[in-house]
Symmetry: C2
Subunit: 243 residues, 2 copies
């Protein structure tokens, strides 16, 4: 449908991938809007992994490999865009994978679980309970998954959920292109990068870091600095845009 001579072909193609996921029922329409928000911030990042984001990814790996019970929380957008990358990271880090949805229905849970399994991901099964300090179904998670985790990776997460996990004393790692979002500002480690670029950085670091290097990264971690660096890159983009 998109003419190949369109200068924004790649970006429109990615949007079409999200549209397919909406049509298949994995992603809600609101998820497509959220994806668009990410695209905008990625445009300001120059659509590349900045040095700060690379360091954030290494730090995320450090927390995951030093965790006792790491869990990756996967929503519809994450599954649609990066099922294979989630599987690779789960294997490299030893983290469990739990599907956790903002717009939660049994049908979507099943579709996303099946999609992840088709991409080689072992998905944690069980009966969700209202264990998070949130209203309504957003409180739902698995007792043996997110609830018991000490370190949780929640890519593309809602701000309330992120804050609730932090309030429960967990180390929360997020991947969020918007450095101004509540999620970005509340998480322990914020990787300001596009999902499919960020996940392989974490996976690779899980295999490379020694325990000592990991502990040093954890000790030196400063999330505010990471956010400042991301915002500085975005300001640079805005500065050089009109010549």
């Amino acid at each position: 449908m998109i003419p190949a001579d369109h200068p924004r072909y790649a970006s429109l193609l990615a949007r079409e991938k999200m549209a397919d996921a909406v049509r298949s029922g994995m992603v809600v329409i609101e998820g497509a809007s959220a994806h668009g928000r990410g695209e905008a911030f990625d445009c300001l990042l120059g659509e590349r992994t900045t040095p700060g984001a690379a360091r954030a990814g290494k730090t995320a790996a450090a927390f995951l490999i030093r965790a006792a019970r790491p869990v990756i929380s996967v929503n519809g957008n994450t599954a649609a865009l990066a099922a294979g990358e989630i599987g690779a990271l789960a294997r490299a880090s030893g983290a469990l994978v739990e599907v956790n949805l903002f717009h939660r229905t049994d049908e979507r849970l099943e579709k996303i679980t099946r999609h992840l399994e088709e991409h080689g991901v072992s998905v944690l099964q069980g009966t969700a309970e209202r264990l998070l300090p949130l209203s309504h179904d957003r409180a739902l998670c698995l007792r043996g998954g997110i609830y018991a985790a000490d370190v949780v990776l929640v890519p593309l997460e809602d701000g309330d959920r992120c804050a609730a996990l932090v309030a429960m004393g967990k180390t929360v790692i997020t991947i969020d292109l918007n450095p101004l979002s509540r999620t970005a500002r509340t998480a322990t480690v914020t990787i300001v990068d596009e999902l499919t670029r960020a996940l392989p950085v974490i996976t690779r670091s899980c295999g490379e870091l020694s325990a000592q290097e990991a502990d040093e990264l954890i000790r030196d971690h400063d999330n505010t600095r990471l956010l400042r660096e991301a915002m500085a890159t975005m300001k640079e983009t805005l500065t050089h845009a009109v010549d």
Copy 2:
């Protein structure tokens, strides 16, 4: 569905409005992504009409009231978000309204036309011809509408389309929250503002400006300056975000 205690309730509600328009078939899923991109830049603007955007809106009004054949080009997102505001501007400016879609189907054309008419908008009718210098169906427009126009307002327009209209010698006014987009940088007048905030500014100015004031605004217009001002505001937001 969205809990009223959610701190981003208003923004999520707007996204739900777009989702409704997708479900009703007025907006394509890609349109919901595009809306999300706009939300991100609006967050950087502080979700308000900046002084530069207000001046851009007045300048847009100046071009519209001094035009011989002004036309407003309306797509799905514009109709879904601002049908009433489009009607008011058409009446205030004397511009014709033509529905023009990137993802064009007869069914969407009809739905959007009906929706606009329900909101009091007179929609130009006719058989579209391939009159724009673009490939495929994106070349379609009405001979007595966009093709014959000297001034075209195209809110939320694709970059190729915008460039094609400019290449045809038309004055192109756009409303685009992304000051970096090709549309924003190609148009004659770029209003970097949210659609439902920007349209009433233009409408009001259409009623207030004298011919002389309009001509002065046109003479003094500098679109690069407007874009720089919008980007400066966004940089300010990024500067003050982490304290």
